[in-house]
C-alpha cells in the first residue's frame, strides 16, 4: 500500500509568548488528493504550512511526507526533502525580478543540481503548460498578477513534487483571475499526480478541492 503524501498526528504548536495555536491536530492526505483548509486570520494556517514544510518545529506530534517522518531528519535532510518532494505557491508570488520567467521556473531544478539545459527545457514545457510558452525570456516586471501566479505554479511543479503547499494563491487576484488560476492549479497538479494542501480564505477556491477542512483552535474539522 502506498504511503500517504502527508500525514500529521497529534500536532501541537504554540507561538512565542505561550499562546496555543492548535493541539491534537491530525490529518492525512492521500497521493493525488486535494485538500483545502480555511480558517480565521491568526488561527495558524501559515504556521501549519511551515511545520509541514519542515521550516518550523512543532511542540508535539508527528508530521510525515510520503511516509518519511520529519522528526527523523536533520536540517539538511529536511531541506533536501523540501527541494525534492514539496512545491510551494505563495500569495505574493515571490518571483525574482532579476531572472527571466524561464530562469525563475528552472530554479528548483538547478537546486537539484540538474544541468542548466535540462532545467531550462523542463521550465519551458511547464511555462507552456500554464499558457506562458511564448514569454520564456520576459521579466516579471512585464507580467500581470495572474500571469505571475501562473509562473509560480509552473515553478512549484517543475520538479514533480509529491505534495504541493499553496498559501492563499488567489489572495492577490481578482475573482475571475482567481477562478482561472485555481482551475489551472487543480488541473496541473492532477496531471502531475501530486497531492495538494491549499490554505485559503476563499470559499470558491476551497470548493475546488476534493475535501474541505476548517482550522480552529480545537484542530481540523470538516467544513
Amino acid at each position: 500500500m502506498n504511503a500517504p503524501a502527508l500525514h500529521i498526528r497529534q500536532l501541537a504548536k504554540s507561538v512565542p509568548g505561550g499562546r496555543l495555536l492548535f493541539d491534537g491536530l491530525s490529518l492525512e492526505i492521500a497521493a493525488g488528493e486535494h485538500v483545502a483548509i480555511r480558517g480565521e486570520s491568526g488561527v495558524g494556517k501559515s504556521t501549519l504550512l511551515n511545520l509541514i514544510a519542515g521550516l518550523d518545529t512543532p511542540d508535539r506530534g508527528e508530521i510525515g511526507i510520503a511516509g518519511t517522518p520529519l522528526a527523523t531528519l536533520d536540517e539538511n535532510a529536511r531541506t533536501d526533502l523540501r527541494r525534492d518532494a514539496i512545491g510551494f505557491v505563495f500569495q505574493a508570488f515571490h518571483i525574482l525580478p532579476h531572472l527571466t520567467l524561464q530562469q525563475n521556473v528552472a530554479l528548483p531544478l538547478l537546486l537539484q543540481k540538474r544541468s542548466r539545459a535540462d532545467a531550462l527545457g523542463r521550465a519551458a514545457s511547464l511555462l507552456d503548460a500554464v499558457g506562458l510558452g511564448g514569454r520564456l525570456r520576459s521579466y516579471p516586471k512585464e507580467l500581470s498578477g495572474g500571469e505571475l501566479q501562473r509562473v509560480a505554479i509552473a515553478r512549484s511543479l517543475v520538479h514533480a513534487p509529491a505534495l504541493l503547499l499553496a498559501d492563499e494563491p488567489t489572495g492577490n487576484l481578482d475573482p475571475d483571475t482567481a477562478r482561472q488560476i485555481m482551475e489551472l492549479l487543480g488541473k496541473a497538479v492532477k496531471e502531475q499526480g501530486a497531492a495538494m494542501l491549499l490554505v485559503t480564505h476563499s470559499p470558491a477556491a476551497a470548493a475546488m478541492a476534493d475535501r474541505q477542512l476548517l482550522l480552529t483552535h480545537d484542530g481540523l474539522v470538516p467544513a
Binding site: S41, G42, K45, S46, T47, N50, A53, L55, D56, E75, N76, T79, D80, R82, R83, D84, I86, G87, F88, F90, Q91, A92, F93, H94, I95, L96, P97, H98, L99, T100, Q103, L107, P108, L110, L111, Q112, K113, S115, R116, A117, Y139, P140, K141, L143, G145, L148, R155, D167, E168, G171, N172, H201
Partner: protein, 848 residues
C-alpha cells in the same frame, strides 16, 4: 516642512536609526576633518604672518636686500630723499643665537631715532637694573638708544632665558659673537615672537657688516597713494634690492605651504565625498525598501515633487545634524592636532612658530554648507528615482526599481572621464592645481557611473559556463539582472579602492624617487653642517679641516636665500665646489650650448617657478658692483628637499661675485683605506674651540634615514586622512551590502521554501560579494592607476613643482586586493546570517 513629512521622516529614522546614524556620522567625520585641517592651517599661517609682521615693525613699505649679504648703506640717503618718503629707518637683520641656545632669534639692528616714527613696534623699553619689572620701567630715550652695548629682548626670549636687567647676553651670528648688556624688553612685539634689538651701528661693527644694510623701513607721506609711491621707489632701486611690504612678505612665506595645505584640505574633502556616497547608498536602499510606502502615498494623493522633497528634506536634516556635529568635532580635533602634531601638520613649514587655535567662522559656514550639500546631493538621485516610481506597479510589489532589460548607459561615464582628462591638461590657477583636483573628481565620478555597464560587460561572459552550482549561478544572475543595485554597492568599493590605489602608487613613486635622489645627492662619505647652530666655517677653519689625515677631498658649501620674485619665497642658492668628487647632481636636463656669464644649475622646482629651461639667461642679484650678475642655466636637476627652488652655483664663481668665503656645510670624501671613525675623530679634533659641539657630523646613511623619516612624517597626516576616507568608504560598502541583503529577506525566504540550504544561500551571498569585490577591484585598480597619473603628473608638479617616475607597490596592491575581496564577501555573508533566521521564512507569508 509639512506634518506628513515630519511623521514620515521621523518614522523612517525611528525604524532604521543605525543606517541614518552611520550616514550622519560619515558626513560629520568628513566635515570634521576638513574643518580641523583648515583651522590648524589657518592658525599656523596666521602665527607665521604675525611673526613676519612683528619683525617688520609697522613700516608702510620696505626696501629689502635680495640676499642675506645685504646692500650698501649708500642707498639709504637716496631713498630718504625720494618725494613719497616721509621718513626712512635703516635696519640690519640677522638670524642669531642668544646665550648659545639652539632656538634661532631675529636680531634687528635699528636707528632708534628713525624707528620712533617708522617702526615704533621695534623699540625697546628700558628696565630698571635694581627693580626689574614693568612698574619700574621707562621708555628708551636717545641715551639708551645710542648705547652700543645695550640689547633689548622680546618677552618670548625673556621667558626662555630668565635674564635680568644688567645681565650679559651672549649673541652669536655666524662665526662672530659678542656680549651685550640686557637693557630692557620690547613691549611692541606680540607674544610668542623671538626678536632682539640692538643699535644699528653696533650691529654693523660687531657682526662684520660695516657699510651694509638688510632693509630700509619706510613711512610714506600722508596722502601719497601706495601704488604711486611704489612706482617712484621701485625706479630708484639698484640690483640686489627689492620693494616689499609686511603683508607681501607674509604672503610669500604663506605661499610655500599653501599647496601642502590645499592638498590636505582636498584629502579631507575626499572623506566628505565618500560620506556622500554613504548617504547615497543609505537613501537608495531606503527608497528600495519603501517602494510600496511611496506608492501608497502617491495613491493617497501625495505629489511626485512631494515624495522627492521628503527624501531631499531627509538629506538636509541629515546634512545639518552631521555638519554641526562635524564642526564641533573638527574644532576639538584641531585643538588636539595643534597640540600633538603642530601647526604645520607634519609638513615642516612653520618651524619655530607657535600657533594658537583660532576659530574660523567663514570656514565653519563653508564646511557646514559643503556637508549639507553633500548629504542633499547624495539624496538627489534616490529622490529622483522615487519620484519616477509608477505607483500602480510598486504597490503590487511585483515591480522594483530594477529593470533587468535596461541597458546600462556608458556614454555619461565616458563623457565624465573625457572631461576629467581634459581638465588634467589645464594649467594651475594661482599656482594651485584646481583643475587637477577637478580632473580627479570627474574621473572618479566617471568610473562610478561606468559601473553598471562595466559590471554587465565583465559578468556576461561568465554566464556561458554552467558551473552546476546554484549559488554561483544565482549570484551571477542577480548581479547581471540588477546592475544598478550592484553598482550602488560598487560605488563605494570603486571610489575607496580607486583613491587608495592612486594614493599608494603616488606615495610609492614619490618615496622611490626620493630614495634614488638621495643616493645621487648624498655621494660623499661624511657630511658636516652648522645649520642648527647658525655657526660658520671661516676660511682658516676650512684650510685646517682640509688638511685632516684620511681625507681625500673636502668641499665646503653654503646655502644663501635669494629673493627673486616679490610673490615667491626666496629661492635657495647652493654654493658648492662643483668639480669635486663628492659633489654630484641628479641632472634631468642639460644645456646644449653655453650661455653668457657664469653657469648655474636650477632645481626642477626653481625651473618651473621661474619659467627657465636649459640655455636660458638668468641674471642673479649678486654683483658686488650693484648690478646683476650675468648667468645662464646649464642644467636642471631633480630636487625634493627645497620646494621653493634651489640654484647650484660653483663656489669659485660665487666668491668672484660676492667675496663671501664663509661656509656652513661640508662634504667629505675619504682617502682609500681611511677609517671613518678615525677621520671623524680627527675632524672633530681640528675644529676650533668656538665650533666644538656646534657642528653636526653625519654619515650619508644617517642623513638618508633622517630624510626618509621626514618624508614619512610629512605624509603621516595624508595617510591618516586617506585611511579615514577608506574606512568611511568600506563602511559604506558594508552598510550597502548589508542593507541590500536585509531588503532581500523575502527572496531568501522563498529560496528556503523551495529547498535551498542556508549554506547555499550564504555561498550565493559570498559569491555575490566576491564578484562585486573583483569587479570593484578591477575598476578601482584601473581608476586608481589613472588618478595616480593625475596626482604624479599634474597635481604634484603644479603644487610642488617636482616630478617623479611611476612605481607600482605590488605587495600593497595585492594586500588591498585580498583585503577588499575578503571584506566584500565577509560582509555579504555576515549580513546574510539574517537570511537564515526564522523571520526570512515568515517574510514570504502575507497572512500569518
Amino acid at each position: 516642512m509639512s506634518d506628513a513629512w515630519r511623521w514620515l521622516i521621523a518614522g523612517e529614522w525611528r525604524a532604521h536609526p543605525m543606517r541614518f546614524l552611520l550616514a550622519g556620522l560619515a558626513i560629520a567625520v568628513g566635515v570634521a576633518l576638513g574643518f580641523a585641517v583648515h583651522v590648524i592651517n589657518r592658525s599656523a599661517a596666521d602665527a607665521f604672518g604675525e611673526a613676519v609682521r612683528s619683525v617688520s615693525g609697522a613700516a608702510d613699505l620696505q626696501v629689502r636686500a635680495t640676499s642675506p649679504l645685504g646692500f650698501s648703506e649708500n642707498l639709504y640717503p637716496r631713498i630718504f630723499r625720494l618725494a613719497p618718503v616721509a621718513d626712512a629707518s635703516p635696519a640690519l637683520e640677522f638670524n642669531a643665537r642668544v646665550q648659545d641656545r639652539q632656538e634661532p632669534v631675529s636680531l634687528v639692528g635699528i636707528d632708534v631715532l628713525r624707528a620712533l616714527t617708522v617702526t615704533p613696534a621695534l623699540l625697546g623699553r628700558r628696565l630698571d637694573r635694581r627693580e626689574a619689572g614693568p612698574a619700574s620701567t621707562r621708555a628708551a630715550g636717545a641715551d639708551a638708544a645710542l648705547d652700543p652695548e645695550a640689547i633689548y629682548l622680546s618677552q618670548a626670549i625673556l621667558d626662555r632665558t630668565r635674564l635680568r636687567p644688567g645681565d650679559k647676553v651672549r649673541v652669536r651670528v655666524g662665526a662672530l659673537a659678542h656680549e651685550f648688556t640686557f637693557a630692557g624688553d620690547m613691549p611692541g612685539v606680540p607674544a610668542g615672537q623671538a626678536i632682539a634689538m640692538i643699535d644699528i651701528a653696533a650691529a654693523q661693527w660687531r657682526f662684520g657688516r660695516l657699510g651694509s644694510l638688510s632693509r630700509i623701513d619706510l613711512k610714506l607721506r600722508d596722502g601719497v597713494g601706495t601704488q604711486a609711491a611704489r612706482e617712484t621707489i621701485q625706479s630708484a632701486l639698484p640690483s640686489g634690492t627689492r620693494l616689499a611690504d609686511p603683508e607681501g612678505e607674509s604672503r610669500r612665506g604663506d605661499s610655500l605651504s599653501r599647496a601642502y595645505r590645499v592638498n590636505l584640505d582636498m584629502l579631507a574633502l575626499v572623506a566628505l565625498l565618500t560620506g556622500g556616497f554613504l548617504v547615497y547608498s543609505a537613501q537608495s536602499l531606503s527608497v528600495a525598501r519603501r517602494l510600496s510606502q511611496f506608492a501608497l502615498l502617491r495613491t493617497l494623493g501625495m505629489r511626485k515633487g512631494s515624495i522627492e522633497g521628503q527624501l531631499l528634506a531627509e538629506g538636509l536634516v541629515l546634512g545639518l545634524l552631521g555638519s554641526v556635529s562635524g564642526l564641533l568635532l573638527g574644532y576639538g580635533l584641531a585643538a588636539l592636532g595643534l597640540r600633538f602634531v603642530g601647526g604645520d601638520l607634519g609638513g615642516g613649514y612653520f618651524g619655530g612658530t607657535a600657533a594658537e587655535l583660532q576659530f574660523a567662522p567663514a570656514a565653519a559656514i563653508l564646511f557646514l554648507t559643503l556637508g549639507v550639500a553633500t548629504a542633499v546631493g547624495g539624496s538627489y538621485a534616490p529622490a529622483r528615482a522615487a519620484g519616477k516610481l509608477a505607483p500602480a506597479v510598486a504597490i503590487r510589489q511585483s515591480g522594483d526599481l530594477v529593470d533587468p532589460r535596461e541597458r546600462p548607459r556608458w556614454r555619461p561615464a565616458l563623457l565624465l572621464m573625457l572631461l576629467g582628462a581634459g581638465c588634467a591638461l589645464l594649467p594651475p590657477i594661482e599656482r594651485l592645481p584646481l583643475f587637477g583636483y577637478l580632473a580627479v573628481a570627474l574621473v572618479l565620478a566617471g568610473g562610478v557611473a561606468a559601473m553598471p555597464w562595466l559590471a554587465r560587460t565583465l559578468l556576461r561572459p561568465l554566464t556561458r559556463f554552467d558551473s552546476r552550482r546554484p549559488s554561483v549561478e544565482m549570484a551571477l544572475r542577480r548581479l547581471l539582472g540588477a546592475p544598478s543595485q550592484a553598482s550602488t554597492a560598487l560605488a563605494g568599493i570603486v571610489a575607496s579602492t580607486g583613491l587608495m590605489i592612486a594614493m599608494a602608487i603616488m606615495v610609492t613613486s614619490f618615496r622611490g624617487s626620493v630614495e634614488d635622489w638621495l643616493d645621487t645627492f648624498l655621494s660623499g662619505d661624511l657630511y658636516l653642517s652648522t645649520a642648527r647652530s647658525g655657526a660658520v666655517f671661516d676660511p682658516a677653519t676650512q684650510t685646517r679641516l682640509a688638511g685632516t689625515p684620511g681625507i681625500a677631498d673636502i668641499g665646503f658649501a653654503k646655502t644663501v636665500p635669494l629673493a627673486l620674485d616679490p610673490e615667491l619665497p626666496s629661492v635657495l642658492l647652493l654654493v658648492r665646489p662643483l668639480d669635486r668628487p663628492g659633489v654630484t647632481l641628479p641632472l634631468i636636463e642639460r644645456a646644449e650650448t653655453r650661455g653668457v656669464g657664469i653657469p648655474i644649475w636650477l632645481s626642477e622646482p626653481a625651473a618651473r617657478l621661474y619659467g627657465k629651461k636649459p640655455g636660458d639667461a638668468m641674471p642673479l642679484p649678486l654683483g658686488r658692483s650693484g648690478g646683476p650678475a650675468q648667468a645662464w642655466v646649464a642644467g636642471i636637476w631633480r630636487d625634493y628637499a627645497r620646494q621653493q627652488g634651489a640654484i647650484e652655483i660653483d663656489a669659485a664663481d660665487y666668491v668672484r661675485l660676492t667675496g663671501d668665503r664663509e661656509r656652513g656645510e661640508a662634504a667629505v670624501t675619504f682617502a682609500p683605506g681611511a677609517s671613518p671613525a678615525r677621520v671623524r675623530a680627527a675632524i672633530e679634533a681640528r675644529l676650533p674651540p668656538e665650533l666644538r659641539g656646534r657642528v653636526d657630523i653625519a654619515e650619508p646613511a644617517t642623513l638618508r634615514r633622517e630624510a626618509l623619516r621626514l618624508f614619512d612624517r610629512s605624509f603621516a597626516i595624508t595617510y591618516v586622512l586617506e585611511a579615514i576616507a577608506i574606512l568611511i568608504g568600506l563602511t559604506g560598502v558594508a552598510a550597502t551590502i548589508s542593507a541590500q541583503t536585509i531588503a532581500r529577506m523575502k527572496e531568501f525566504g522563498m529560496l528556503r521554501h523551495i529547498g535551498m540550504r542556508p549554506r547555499s544561500i550564504l555561498a550565493m551571498l559570498a559569491s555575490e560579494g566576491v564578484l562585486l569585490g573583483l569587479i570593484g577591484l578591477a575598476a578601482g585598480a584601473v581608476l586608481g592607476l589613472g588618478i595616480s597619473q593625475i596626482l604624479i603628473h599634474v597635481i604634484n608638479p603644479q603644487s610642488f613643482n617636482w616630478t617623479m617616475e611611476t612605481r607600482l607597490p605590488w605587495t600593497l596592491l595585492l594586500t588591498v586586493a585580498i583585503g577588499l575581496v575578503t571584506a566584500a564577501a565577509g560582509t555579504a555573508m555576515l549580513a546574510g546570517r539574517r537570511a537564515l533566521s526564522a523571520s526570512a521564512i515568515r517574510a514570504v507569508s502575507e497572512d500569518w
